[in-house]
């Protein structure tokens, strides 16, 4: 039976106790995984990686991980070119961060700007933006990626551009809906009466109100971008070889799955853990900051 009595408000703790309580409320596991798998390796790759991620020793090809009886110097084994898997995964985190960061920044900026304009100015701007959003979202980005790769080959810049191309529409749709609501609020009306410029109203009055939405949306998009980049790289239309992109490493491991499963397994595990953590973090943030945002 649920507690029938209305519980008394706890005595508010002070100082370190309050701080500790706030920390305890954070989703610690996802944050820890993100730090260990993604952030720390990316920052300290040079000092953490035991081997060179690009050049291997052909005589040490397809060595199993140390814990499965392989040479002790290769913790996670080696790939078909004798390169250390652990070192490649560590350096691969940089690629994941770079693509996700650049893609979300560019796509998010364009999408937010257009979404704000559509929601604030309405009329033709809104019609054009929403129609473009519909079209963009109805074409799978992977098809565009294939056409681009066929036209100009696999490139880092192309991957970022395609990520941005998908994301702008996601941002624009969400931001338009939000700014539409705020544009009709009293304080925007007051600012207008006070003679504020359109730009000022949008940036100073509407944008701060949708900041929470943007934070939640961006967190939830990180997972999508990492899987998407991984898929493109896996297909050979994303990050070019010999970069240690996680998706590429899974592709390298595919043909060796019978004899050396670890080549495909560990990079994919890194993707899964990172994405799972960001999705959990995003869900947590959504519940905290923006419970209305359900459609992503």
């Amino acid at each position: 039976m649920p507690d029938a009595s209305v519980s008394a408000v706890d005595g508010a703790p002070t100082g370190a106790a309050a701080w500790w309580r706030r920390v305890r409320e954070l989703p610690l596991l996802p944050i820890a995984i993100i730090l260990v798998v993604l952030v720390i390796p990316a920052i300290f790759a040079e000092s953490l990686a035991p081997h060179n991620p690009y050049s291997g020793n052909l005589r040490a090809r397809l060595q199993p991980p140390a814990f499965l009886g392989g040479p002790s110097e290769f913790w996670l084994g080696t790939d078909h070119q004798g390169r250390d898997m652990l070192s490649r995964i560590i350096f691969g985190s940089r690629i994941a961060i770079a693509v996700a960061g650049a893609g979300i920044l560019i796509g998010g900026f364009i999408g937010t700007a257009l979404g704000l304009m559509a929601g604030y100015f309405r009329g033709v701007t809104e019609t054009v933006v929403t129609r473009l959003v519909d079209v963009t979202l109805s074409i799978p980005a992977i098809l565009v990626a294939l056409v681009v790769a066929a036209a100009i080959g696999a490139r880092f810049s192309a991957v970022v551009a395609i990520v941005a191309l998908v994301l702008w529409a996601v941002y624009a749709r969400q931001v338009r809906a939000e700014s539409l609501k705020w544009a009709q609020s009293d304080f925007v009306a007051r600012a207008r009466v006070a003679g504020a410029s359109h730009f000022r109203i949008i940036v100073r009055h509407i944008l701060p109100n949708i900041a929470n939405t943007l934070i939640v949306l961006s967190t939830l998009q990180v997972g999508f971008v990492i899987v998407f980049e991984g898929s493109l790289s896996f297909l050979g239309v994303g990050i070019p070889r010999p970069n240690p992109a996680w998706g590429l490493m899974v592709a390298d491991g595919r043909i060796h799955v019978v004899s050396a499963w670890w080549i495909a397994f560990f990079p994919g595990l890194a993707i899964m853990l990172t994405v799972l953590s960001f999705n959990m973090l995003g869900d947590w943030l959504r519940d905290r900051l923006d419970p209305k945002l359900t459609q992503v």
């Binding site: 129609r131 519909d134 079209v135 109805s138 074409i139 799978p140 992977i142 098809l143 565009v144 294939l146 056409v147 681009v148 790769a149 066929a150 036209a151 100009i152 997972g223 899987v227 991984g230 898929s231 896996f234 297909l235 050979g236 239309v237 998706g247 899974v250 592709a251 491991g253 595919r254 799955v257 019978v258 499963w261 495909a264 397994f265 990079p267 994919g268 993707i271 899964m272 994405v275 799972l276 999705n279 959990m280 869900d283």
Partner: protein
């Protein structure tokens, strides 16, 4: 209903034009189209043939009109990888295999997601609800291409229950269909759960119970019939995901479908085939969306009689 239909058909045509425009521009605006369209080692007469076929000597807007004409006639030119084979023909030859895989994945997704979604709404906050949430989270975090390889390692290499790759028997279909469908289970389940929760909370469900209708009938007929309308709108998006999923999954399992074809074509710089696949896929997705919207009208009488 008629106005709704006309509007949707109009939007569909607009989207298809946008697709052709994107593919066209990507083919033209990334430097010299001839070099883009041709492998570096192409012979001079091939180059001339392509130039003429696509009218590359004409101004851009005329090229685009000609391009649209070619697309409408289904002329994407000859494959460069397999000279003498029409690009569209290659696509149509394999699209059946891809549809087979997509349909199996769809069936798997629906068969798993509907019961879990319904039960997690009926028994809210129970074990099945929490398990369902976890499956959803996991499903949306697992990369297709990786889970496919993990499946091969477990079920084909170690357990030897299923064939590693290729197409042929029912057994060949299981792993790729589950891999593609898995991702859909997550999203579909969440939608059905929330739609069911809303339906079960409604007055008409109360009235059905007051009529003495059995709980089983209340849930699976009265509530689900209403709740099914919402996830149906998602089917259009779902088909897009199935297409996307089929590309990586076909590569993982060497499934001889359009996805494998297009990835090979990209590697071989076979632009006509890539274009044909892109346009055909775009048509499939956009038309599927249109059909879903019409179906939506049929299922929901409030729209049907608008």
């Amino acid at each position: 209903m008629l106005r709704y239909l006309t509007k949707r058909v109009g939007q569909t045509i607009f989207t298809l034009f946008a697709v052709t425009l994107i593919v066209f521009s990507l083919g033209r605006l990334t430097g010299d189209p001839a070099t883009v369209l041709m492998p570096v080692e192409a012979r001079q007469e091939d180059r001339a043939r392509i130039m003429q076929h696509w009218g590359l000597d004409q101004p851009l807007h005329i090229q685009y009109v000609r391009y649209i004409g070619n697309v409408l006639r289904g002329e994407f030119g000859e494959s460069l990888q397999w000279p003498g084979r029409d690009a569209l023909e290659l696509v149509l030859l394999r699209i059946g295999n891809t549809l087979e895989l997509g349909l199996a994945a769809l069936l798997f997704a629906v068969a798993v997601a509907v019961p879990i979604g319904v039960f997690s709404a009926v028994y809210k906050n129970s074990f099945i609800d929490h398990a369902g949430k976890f499956i959803a989270l996991l499903g949306q975090s697992l990369p297709h291409f990786w889970i496919g390889i993990v499946f091969i390692w477990i079920f084909a290499v170690n357990l030897r229950w299923l064939p590693t790759s290729g197409r042929g028997t029912w057994a060949h279909l299981i792993m790729p269909a589950v891999v593609i469908g898995w991702f859909q289970v997550a999203a579909l389940m969440r939608l059905i759960r929330s739609a069911m929760l809303e339906a079960l909370d409604s007055e008409y469900i109360k009235l059905a119970r007051l009529k003495g209708v059995r709980e089983r009938v209340v849930i699976w007929k009265h509530a689900l019939r209403n709740a099914a309308i919402v996830p149906l709108t998602y089917f259009g998006i779902m088909i897009a995901y199935l297409v996307v999923g089929s590309i990586t999954t076909e590569v993982v399992f060497s499934w001889p479908g359009v996805g494998l074809l297009v990835v090979n074509a990209v590697t071989a710089r076979d632009f006509p085939v890539v274009q044909a696949v892109t346009i055909v896929f775009a048509f499939v997705i956009v038309l599927a969306n249109l059909i879903v919207d019409v179906l939506y009208g049929v299922l929901d009488p409030r729209i049907r009689f608008e």
